[in-house]
């Protein structure tokens, strides 16, 4: 089966700095890929290249049959197929939770007000926040904000979900509620790419673990096996530090 995300020899430079170094990677539908690596290894950049928030400087990257090099309009189509969740939530502060979730369908998909509203309500229900629908982000806890952000990304009906350190800004007791929503999504068969340091999530939910160093993928395998028997010293060292 052809992968829904295909990195073909992808490089990314920030001026002289090489952040991604000729990466080849194919992700298939239904996979839950957990990306780990030391800071500066390129894992967030790799994720952000998928929906074009970072432009690649070499090679080609194809998402659901569309290359990120096909131009702005096609890139917007990719972004509608790949929802993103950010470390800092990035909810729109002037909108309520419900308006945040309804915003994408309204302005991107052209849904009617009532249609977008009903769908947003259903998604808030799904992430367990229906009773918070009319609260503003500033009135929600971090964990609640992140769950609203997940609902917002799901509202445009993406085929892939990208998570950029979704729990790193959260207190330990709030991480779990976000991870639970992510686990539920994975169980429903959503294709997910997750940059995280949550090794228990990688073990329990991930179907694939990728370890990056210096802009290259150096380990790629089954999470349980790779975590139990790290095939390289650097990963072993890394795992000691995050767990």
């Amino acid at each position: 089966m052809e992968g829904i995300i295909q990195f073909r020899n992808v490089s990314k430079h920030f001026d002289a700095l090489k952040v991604l170094d000729e990466v080849d990677l194919t992700i298939s539908r239904g996979e839950v890929v957990v990306l780990i690596g030391p800071s500066g290894s390129g894992k967030s950049t790799l994720l952000r290249c998928i929906n074009g928030l970072e432009a690649i400087t070499g090679g080609d990257l194809v998402v659901d049959g569309i290359s990120v090099l096909e131009g702005k309009a096609r890139l917007r189509t990719i972004r509608q197929e790949a929802g993103m969740v950010f470390q800092q939530f990035n909810l729109f502060p002037q909108f309520t939770a419900l308006e945040n979730v309804a915003f994408g369908p309204r302005k991107v998909r052209g849904a009617s007000r009532s249609e977008a509203r009903d769908q947003a309500m259903a998604l808030l229900e799904k992430v367990g926040l229906a009773e918070r629908a009319n609260h503003y982000p500033s009135e929600l806890s971090g964990g609640q904000q992140q769950r609203v952000a997940i609902a917002r990304a799901l509202a445009i009906k993406p085929k892939v979900m990208l998570f950029d350190e979704p729990t790193s800004a959260l207190d330990p007791e709030l991480k779990q509620e976000v991870l639970n929503v992510m686990r539920q999504l994975a169980e429903e068969g959503m294709t997910m790419v997750v940059v995280t340091h949550e090794m228990s999530f990688a073990r329990q939910v991930g179907t694939r673990l990728i370890f990056m160093e210096h802009g290259k993928i150096t380990v790629d395998g089954n999470p349980r096996e790779v975590i139990a028997n790290p095939p390289n010293e650097r990963l072993k060292d890394f795992l000691r530090h995050v767990e």
């Binding site: 972004r79 929802g83 950010f86 990035n90 502060p93 002037q94 991107v108 917002r152």
Partner: protein, 218 residues
């Protein structure tokens, strides 16, 4: 000469006509200045290198020269340079537009850039084109941060109209000057002029405070 406050009332109609002219110039000048400032500010924050440079040069030239020199240039140099002769009132309005526009551009740029980059990314990640992110997300947020510094600029521009005395526009300061020249009632007339300015800027401040209160500043 004894100070006689009651003479102010004799000249009140004249002073009010001057104040009206001041308001007229300020309103048209600031409306134009906001349009020009918004365009130049967005050219700075969102434009490519060419637009950005054009806006940068405009802002630096205007901020780096006194407004009196700009007025003189418009009124006396433009006819020579471009054969363009404009009447004093139009010159006055134009001068406020160009001058306030440069300062407002910096205010707009600052407000837009103060909105976290993450919000723009969140909008883009939903598949919105950049202009929609600006219109629906960043713009409305930036607008709220714009209001306090914009109010400041309104007050500065209103007071700046007083220097159109140099090209003979009959605004409030000029009117005061003319009355003075006829009766030498310096204390009474300049006090009256100052109070009228205070009433105008005070009203502006009050209006801005109300707008600020009505909007949740985020």
């Amino acid at each position: 000469m004894e100070v006689n406050w009651s003479i102010i009332f004799d000249f009140l109609p004249q002073l009010m006509a001057g104040a009206k002219m001041t308001i007229y110039i300020t309103v048209f000048g600031l409306v134009g200045g906001m349009v020009l400032g918004a365009i130049a500010g967005l050219m700075r924050s969102h434009g490519g290198p060419v637009l950005n440079t054009i806006a940068f040069i405009y802002i630096e030239v205007i901020r780096g020269t006194p407004i009196v020199v700009q007025v003189m240039f418009l009124y006396f140099a433009m006819p020579v340079l471009a054969g363009l002769r404009i009447d004093p009132l139009t010159t006055a309005i134009l001068a406020i537009i160009i001058n306030a526009g440069a300062y407002i551009a910096e205010i707009v740029r600052g407000a837009v850039l103060s909105i976290s980059k993450g919000l723009t990314e969140a909008g883009l990640a939903l598949g919105l084109p950049a202009w929609k992110v600006l219109v629906y997300i960043v713009g409305p947020l930036a607008f709220r941060r714009l209001i306090p510094p914009l109010g400041n600029q309104f007050i500065v521009s209103l007071k700046d109209t007083s220097l159109f005395i140099v090209i003979g526009v009959g605004e409030l300061t000029r009117t005061g000057q003319e009355i003075m020249a006829a009766n030498f009632r310096a204390v009474e007339i300049w006090t009256a002029v100052a109070v009228i300015y205070l009433l105008m800027t005070g009203t502006l401040s009050l209006m801005l405070r109300i707008v600020e209160k009505r909007m949740r500043i985020l």
